[in-house]
Amino acid sequence: MAVRARGLSLGQRRAVWAYIFLIVPLLFFIGVRFAPTLFAMSVSLFKWDILSPTKPWLGLQNYETLFADKVFWKSLTNTLLYVVLSVPLELVFGLTFALLLQSAARWKGFFRALYFIPFVTSTVAISWVWRWMYEPTFGPLNKLLAFLSLPEQKYLANPDQALPSIVIAIAWQAVGFYIIIFLAGLEAIPADFYEAAKIDGAHAWDLFRHITLPLLNPTIVFLTVIGTINGIQVFTQVLNMSFQGTGGPLDATKSLVLFIYQQAFRSFKMGYASAGTVVLFGIILLITLIQLKVTTRRVEY
């Protein structure tokens, strides 16, 4: 390697150094990200039974089986439901609390820390606490309903309520992260805008509708993209909270990632599971592209 090479200009030397330093993360990305992704894509074309020494070529047969698999479609629908239900919930609550926190006169730091704690707590622990809260016989939620003389619910054991119940736990945990990002976004809005608008006689709602919301657009886009990707990859909460831990009852809570996990590590069908991951990859790619195209349109006010 040419250390302190002679005859190079300062600019060229700088460029050489920049590339030398870039090699390290590049190697990391090639070795740890890209290569396994490409490998998984190739695995999906084989009957890759993990215990078996022979891995016969299947072509697209894994995909054919996958698209004919009812459980796959069910888990795909569930995954989209996780996204559609959790992202708006997180955005609305995140923004509401951020606005409240921003106007809080004292103990701002304390409240920020308080709301952020769930986000840095172990997801497994949170899942189990929620699971106990939802417990139909002895859980506090049903005790509360009974106290209010309202009909008690089955929550995680009811195929219709199980998925929304998990969504609530997911949103509860994620909201702290949304608050922090929204707060940063709010801080970045110059105070002059509000002052000028107030002088013109704008009300609080006008300020929010015409200044805060438009100027938060990049923050909202960022959070929507992150929230969607997290929602598509939901796994831990489902594994720990679902009835019998298998994405039940009746696959009502099974997410795509849990489906892939079960195929790969319970049934040892690596090829089939890889086909699932390729589909998942395609979906995430597509959604991200659409979101970036649609929601980052520059709007001038």
Binding site: I23, V24, L27, L51, S52, P136, L156, A157, G248, L250
Partner: protein, 446 residues
């Protein structure tokens, strides 16, 4: 500048080293052991030191006993070192899955018998050498239940012990309900009515289930082998090719009986107390179906008086479900004559009558050798006797994918209990799902 360059170089070097590190640094001693004992017959003790690895899932009493047994085995065979590794049950298949592509893993492995077709079909296990384990002798010495482990006329593994099921009951709740603990229920109808008496409902909510039905624990086995037979059906054809749960009216009756416990007689509640064993330990369930393997846990964890009674009979027959964890030798070990010889020795030791005599008192599972089973010590034990009594009518199910098979029944049960599906249709659906698993399995064998 120079220091930075050095740092960058160092980072690069680290990556290169990490990437090119040998996948199997421990291979060397094994290879030398193989070459230094080329003439040794597999049955002879290897001349050179050899190390073999034994894997089982973590079950405290089993881990401790096997640790003790290994010390003894190594005393008898000073040239063999056994490395004992355990994993939590939930991670067991993950670990196996991760170790195979890496070319590592155990030489002797403990597997659930129901997983055998999957592992054998994949070439993970090697057949037991005929001269060390003659088939005729095995079938004479071991109880007939182990024959379910015979695949394509060969044995790939042997168990130390077998288990079957019985009813665990809370004596305190049983007598409180006005029942006589000296007269256990003899039929499933009597069991259901005892459960009704033990069930407690407060403010419209069940606080004690008389019998906590839990299909994700043992009650899928209860249905398949016990109830179907008890009501006059046979769960599978003899060649294990056809699932016959719904082939007779008895099959439907058995299914209806299981459903009615929750739906009609209301002696169970699917969410009460996390799962069956947890509910039973927390005194939220009076009775549950479990195996002899649960005796150890019950002894150490139950804070109330409890007992066990034998599996009741149905209107047509009396049956029980038998199962076992079994030790096999991997193809990886079979490739190396020294390791194979050591593994054979270890397997013979694990399945010897002496080991079994230690195993049963420590674990609760019953010995797999017929001759050891005759020991009056077991028949006189009040906790083991209920299991022994139904051992002659214990059947092990043939599984091609145990997890999927179980899930099919759980889903069918939930469809009825949670979504009011038609019981008959749900059983038909489960049968169809599992039949497809079997069809695919047998098709892949050709």
């Amino acid at each position: 500048m120079k220091r930075l360059a050095l740092l960058a170089l160092l980072a690069l070097a680290l990556i290169v080293v990490a990437c090119s590190a040998p996948a199997e640094p421990t291979k060397a001693p094994a290879a030398s052991a193989a070459t230094s004992a080329p003439a040794a017959k597999p049955t002879d003790a290897p001349a050179a030191k050899v190390e073999i690895e034994y894997w089982q899932y973590f079950f405290e009493s089993k881990k401790n006993l096997v640790d003790e047994l290994i010390v003894e085995f190594q005393k008898q065979n000073p040239n063999i070192t056994v490395v004992h590794t355990t994993f939590p049950y939930e991670q067991y298949t993950d670990k196996v899955a991760a170790s195979v592509p890496a070319g590592r893993g155990p030489d002797v492995v403990n597997l659930y018998y129901g997983w055998l077709p999957l592992y054998i079909n994949s070439g993970y296990l090697a057949p037991l050498p005929d001269k060390d384990f003659p088939i005729a002798q095995l079938e004479k010495d071991f109880i007939p239940m182990i024959q379910i482990a015979k695949v394509d006329g060969k044995y790939y593994s042997l168990p130390t012990a077998v288990r079957n099921l019985a009813i665990f009951y809370n004596k305190d709740l049983y007598t409180k309900a006005g029942l006589d603990a000296t007269k256990p229920p003899k039929t499933f109808d009597e069991l259901a009515s005892a459960a009704q008496k033990m069930t407690k409902v407060e403010g419209g909510k069940m606080t004690v289930a008389g019998w906590r039905v839990d299909l994700s624990n043992q009650d899928h086995n209860l249905f398949r082998e016990i109830l179907v037979r008890a009501y006059g059906g046979v769960p599978q054809s003899d060649d294990h090719k056809k699932i016959q749960w719904n082939a007779t009216p008895g099959g439907y009756d058995a299914w209806q009986f299981l459903i009615d416990l929750t739906a009609k007689q209301k002696v169970s509640e699917p969410t009460l107390g996390q799962d069956g064993p947890t509910a039973w330990l927390a005194q939220q369930a009076g009775m549950m179906v479990s195996g002899s393997f649960y005796l150890g846990t019950a002894k150490s964890k139950a804070t109330f008086n409890w007992g066990v009674f034998p599996m009741p009979a149905g209107p047509k027959a009396s049956a029980n479900f038998g199962s076992f964890w079994t030790h096999g030798i991997t193809t990886k070990a079979a490739k190396d004559p020294a390791k194979l010889a050591a593994s054979v020795k270890f397997l013979q030791f694990l399945t010897s009558a002496e080991t079994m005599k230690k195993w049963t008192p420590a674990i609760g599972e019953l010995p797999a050798r017929a001759e050891v089973l005759k020991d009056p010590v077991f028949a006189n034990d009040p906790l083991l006797a209920p299991f022994l009594q139904t051992l002659p009518v214990s059947y092990a199910s043939y599984f091609v994918d145990e997890a999927a098979d179980r899930t099919a029944l759980i889903d069918a049960y939930n469809a009825v209990i949670l979504k009011n599906a038609d019981p008959k249709k749900s059983l038909d659906d489960a049968t169809k799902t599992v039949q497809k698993l079997f069809d695919d399995y047998w098709a892949s064998k050709k």
